[in-house]
Symmetry: C2
Subunit: 336 residues, 2 copies
């Protein structure tokens, strides 16, 4: 019998970097974590890579059976799959205040190459949302599907899409950024510098903004009226909705309306078999699924009506990001 193969999946967030050893079935054998925020500045990056490599080495050695390390997959913000880089990430390795040479090109981090150097195995990076998409395809509910869309509802809205059985990266490696489709001309200000992007409405931040808009618009009493903007987080809306709070319920309905309308356009472009919702907001279940489904069908081009499934992700759970990153390796292997 062939030796068991494992891949390392790495999930780089602004606070922590989590990583684990995963097999082709998505079983996790060992996991660990280092702090990302301990390394806030551009010139901390080499030390970050060093700690990450050392910790991964320790983790790899901790497994009690013999295995082949098939590769390392990394999910990170602003990752460019084609180049193996992380490019100008908003919350990682920034310039110090008063930096004398704040050339943004210095913030293109050649992460795949730097990590590969530690281990001598194939190393691939992609953004978190694409990693989740590949995770869904390899381990989750999209197994066997050749055309699907994955929507990751976190602080923002990430997404990825697969067509002809392949992840679509596009020419620059940044395809599938549905969160930055403009859904409202002159709408809400977005972190990208523009206005009205889908993620300003549909995300943890988006639904919070909606709740505040509704407190101004509606007169209904609501527990949410007692909480200041800075103390507020999206989970308070689902808690309130569970108790029938009218502002919270309307916030979900409106979020579903914005998402459903956008998904009708996404279907027009990608013609998927299914769309998966993943991440924080998607855990609200029918609060978000029902209005999304309704508005999606209501706005759907006739040839697609009642054909596209809207489904929960099959890789929800605390290790989804590690799984997704590790799946990069199995998908790449399947292709060759």
């Amino acid at each position: 019998m062939d030796m068991k193969k494992l891949a390392i999946g790495i999930d780089i967030g602004g606070i922590n970097t989590a990583f684990g050893l995963v097999d082709e079935n998505g079983d996790l054998y060992a996991e660990s974590v280092i702090s990302t925020k301990k390394y806030p500045y551009v010139d901390d990056y080499p030390a970050y890579v060093k700690e990450l490599c050392n910790s991964m080495r320790a983790l790899a050695d901790s497994v009690s059976f013999e295995y082949e390390l098939a590769g390392i997959g990394i999910g990170a913000p602003n990752a460019n799959y084609h180049q193996g880089t992380i490019e100008m990430p908003a919350n990682l390795w920034k310039f110090r205040e008063g930096e004398t040479d704040p050339d943004e090109n210095r913030r293109i981090f050649r992460l795949a190459e730097d990590i590969a150097r530690c281990f001598g195995v194939k190393t691939l990076v992609t953004n978190d949302a694409n990693a989740a998409t590949i995770g869904e395809m390899i381990y989750g509910n999209a197994k066997g599907m050749k055309d699907f869309v994955m929507i990751t509802l976190g602080t923002g809205l990430g997404s990825g899409f697969v067509a002809n059985g392949e992840m679509i990266y596009g020419h620059d490696g940044f395809a599938g950024e549905f969160g930055h489709i403009i859904v409202e001309r002159n709408g809400r200000e977005c972190g990208c510098g523009r206005r009205g992007c889908l993620e300003t409405y549909v995300s943890a931040t988006g639904i919070k903004r909606t709740a505040f808009e509704l407190m101004a618009k509606m007169t209904a009493p609501s527990k949410l009226r007692g909480i200041a903007f800075d103390d507020f987080d999206a989970s308070m809306i689902s808690a309130a909705a569970a108790q029938g709070d009218p502002i919270a319920l309307e916030a979900y309905r409106f979020t579903g309306e914005m998402l459903g309308r956008a998904l009708a356009d996404v279907v027009t472009v990608t013609s998927p078999e299914a769309i998966f919702l993943f991440g924080g907001l998607s855990k609200a279940g029918k609060l978000i699924f029902e209005p999304t489904q309704w508005y999606m069908e209501e706005n759907m081009l006739f040839v697609f009506k009642n054909k596209v499934k809207l489904l929960p992700s099959g890789i929800q759970g605390k290790n989804a990001a590690i799984l997704g990153a590790s799946a990069l390796i199995w998908q790449d292997g399947a292709k060759n």
Copy 2:
């Protein structure tokens, strides 16, 4: 030396069906045409297929050298590549008035199979806009590009996109319908039954509607004010614009604004190397290219700014549709 290979390209329109013999370089060796509108009803379809096959046979026999017929590619409205069918086309083979069994399933025409039966060669169908896309890739300005978008500006707005070097059809074979992205909530009525689709603004019909809206909105004198809606066609706008007519110029600017904004979203989703404009309206040159380019960049997500080329098609001309359809065969050959 191998025997020369030719493919038949067929372009099915509501009025005529044009077809021709094309080699791998896009050179056309013979062409012919039959009437489509002679066969308006569902029960005329078999006779249409028969005449088309007979005429193709005559054309195929008219070539004076020996060649191998590599296949037949068909571009048609509402074509489903996966199924080889034309499904409920708006302007082809309709029910007679008072039809006793108007079951729309009877309007799923198995065209690829029916045509293949005449010749015994591989026969593929796709919609006109996808055929143009493949034509651009095989013979035109997209040669060697792996990720690009083709926008066909005709009566409506057709489109197709290629990612990872492959045409994206999606699960139902209808992907890439950028003309039916909704760009204006509660906007103009669209033939698809919804409102605000891109093609209601950006197409020959769309710019005509814009010109009439502008005649109401603006007070500037214009030659266009002397023409009734029913007598009006889009070419009158470019003629007027060439003479500096303010309504006509504004109509082009507005059309470019709507297209440019939509293309910024298209880029966000597909991350193409280039976008090609093809068909009627695109021949207006800088009248349409300049505002489109400007508004596309103005609305572009930062990672894509000044990276995506907006280019004229390289297969413009009277045989583009036949070329596009024939390219289906060479593309399919390259894949296998």
